[in-house]
Subunit: 397 residues, 2 copies
């Protein structure tokens, strides 16, 4: 007999892994800390902001740039090689993180997966290669290439390949005249550009996928998402589409998740096109704003499953507990900047909303200041939805 | 026209009250911090232990004795007169807290209410005076009084009036021979003794009552509680009694809550006697171990409602979301002391339990190390309950 390989069992030992590190200290990190600490884990965060939302709840907080080796080494020292380091954002320079990974610190999802996802062009290429439907796209290096492309395609979105989120780094080209402005604006960003053909869509949808260390995968129900200026504004779950479409979207999300190695949650944002196709728009390798509903609406939230996934614990139930749930983002008033003041908190609570305010001192136009979730009977919720703008908490000055 | 009085409206302003102080930094404080921070509030804790469970999640933590004026003034300075100070335990010397209250800091529930509750004899007297059924009780000062009482009553529980919880400070007198030992043991405690006639009961039950600043009151469903060595071991909700008994218990709990002024949650522990009467055993003016189920099983937990209550926010839904819920305490192995190691965490998660480990480094016999909750269909849960000891997570060394 010959030993042909060693089977590594990533069996979780809650008595050994007790420490989680998070690169990034925003509201996503904050919402991961809650279930992690509940399960008896210690959580350490790293963020350039010493007053980052998560810093107050973390067991300890390291102040430093996401890609700063000294700061990352401080985080790694707190977490140790027995613990796990994860992310609350994917737009992080990975050189120093990769060093830690090579030294034996557990980075989940791993840096090779992160490197592909954080370059949207490479991400799209990986998806296309795996046979996943995406909008037509092409790398763009100089303005004349864009002009050539535009002549044929008529409408498109020029995008920065890297460090873009919530619509930052996107520029819609409706007319030939937009090209100069778009190119000028985006070519300031490092990492290059690419262009995507405009997709006439009926609905923006997403599936949040929980992934275990053993390869186990579970989908949360399909989200129907409405954006305002490229920032998520409202999520309705389950999306108001046929069962057949919902099943197709979930299948596509699972197939997409397989493209990117690693444990922990992953959100797949998709377009349901006017012709009934589903195209993958982009992937976020972490808990996602469209999955916030799961805190109240599911037995195990996306944040708990992310922590369970990266720590190697068994995943938990992702089904809705009620017929429907609605999540409203609380975005900074479009015309106000300054010390924040909230309006409508009591009214929202009286209606049965769970209120999340992220504790940010200052509001800015469109800034994510909090969110609110309600879960219950479909009929009751759709009734509330009819007058939703009267219900939404306002973040003003 | 003459002004005959000024109506004070305790209208909550989430933009004004942003700070909560908690005297005590244990797991109850920790579980209050989660919804408070979610609602955008800052939370400050005070505890003699610099590593108290809540200290890691609090915005800041003051180390000092619960009754130490210097430490309390530090806490008060962090919270300010615009904020609210509450408690995670009631056995606190109140002199310094009372000073702060007189200076205008908001202490909720207030010290006069706390003073009555923390002396179990005064508490019982207040209940009796309000016409609430309690076991026969009598103040005891010297051993010979106890002997006289025992001749007539045959069985009783000798109790310390103050600083007693989870059965500490209780001594069951089954036989005349027990009196000397009981008196010797308990008379070491300051604050005096009293005795209660033994109540032959069928069931220990409790109702957690949420109380708003405006006098609003809401009951959580009736709990059926099983104790092990005077420490809560298992809670089943709703209690397996008739609707009629459940209604009577909730009515009694509301009547009991009216005896003790103040906002925030209050737990009323009761006996369902063999003759079908309901007697109030004792009152805790805070979230209570028997109400932990509400974190997962209700839209608004006892911890969130406690914070809402003391902060003057509207109370939220206290109904069960599923047919039934079971909460199991994870108590330190009766024969082990030392660095804790948990067994059965994954199995519990796979069955659908939410796992709470309080992060205490050391286990001791019967110590509250965590709890676990499952919520769902009655039939499924009762099936799990048949083999519950195989499911319960073990805290050992």
């Amino acid at each position: 007999m010959e030993i042909v390989g060693i089977i590594m069992i990533n069996k979780f030992d809650i008595n050994a892994i007790k420490k989680i590190g998070i690169i990034g200290g925003g509201q996503l990190a904050k919402m991961m800390i809650v279930p992690a600490q509940r399960m008896g884990l210690e959580v350490y965060t790293l963020d350039p902001d010493s007053n980052a939302n998560a810093s107050f709840s973390a067991n300890d907080h390291v102040v430093g740039a996401y890609s700063d080796e000294t700061a990352l080494r401080k985080l790694a020292a707190l977490v140790g090689k027995g613990g796990v380091i994860t992310f609350d954002l994917e737009h992080v320079g990975l050189d120093a993180v990769k060093k830690l990974e090579q030294e034996g610190y557990k980075i989940r999802p791993n840096t090779s997966s992160q490197a592909i996802i954080q370059d949207k062009y490479l991400q799209k290429e990986a998806l296309k290669k795996a046979g996943i439907a995406v909008a037509d796209f092409e790398k763009m290096e100089i303005e004349s290439e864009i002009r050539e492309w535009f002549k044929i395609n008529k409408k498109g979105v020029l995008k920065s390949r890297r460090f873009s989120y919530d619509g930052y780094g996107n520029f819609v080209l409706d007319d030939e005249k937009d090209i100069a402005e778009g190119f000028k604006k985006l070519s300031k960003n490092t990492g290059g550009l690419y262009i995507e053909k405009w997709v006439p869509f009926n609905l923006e949808i997403s599936v949040n996928v929980a992934r275990g260390l053993n390869g186990e995968k579970m989908c949360y129900p399909l989200c129907e998402n409405e954006h305002e200026n490229n920032v998520l504004y409202t999520t309705i779950v389950p999306a108001r589409v046929s069962e057949k479409i919902a099943d197709r979207a979930r299948e596509l999300a699972l197939k997409t998740a397989d493209v990117f190695e690693g444990a922990g949650n992953l959100c797949v944002e998709m377009f349901l096109t006017k012709s009934g196709d589903i195209l993958v728009n982009e992937v976020a390798p972490r808990p996602h704003n469209s999955g916030h509903f799961s805190i109240e609406a599911c037995h195990v939230s996306q944040f708990e499953n992310h922590i369970r996934g990266v720590a190697g614990l068994p995943l938990g139930d992702t089904e809705l507990r009620d017929e429907m749930t609605i999540m409203l983002n609380i975005l900074g008033d479009r015309t106000k900047s300054g010390k924040v003041r909230y309006e409508g908190v009591e009214k929202a609570m009286e209606l049965g909303f769970s209120v999340h305010l992220y504790g940010k001192e200052e509001t800015r136009p469109g800034r994510k200041m909090g969110h609110m979730t309600i879960s219950g009977d479909r009929e009751k919720l759709l009734k509330i939805y009819e007058n939703i703008e009267n219900v939404r908490i306002k973040a003003t000055t």
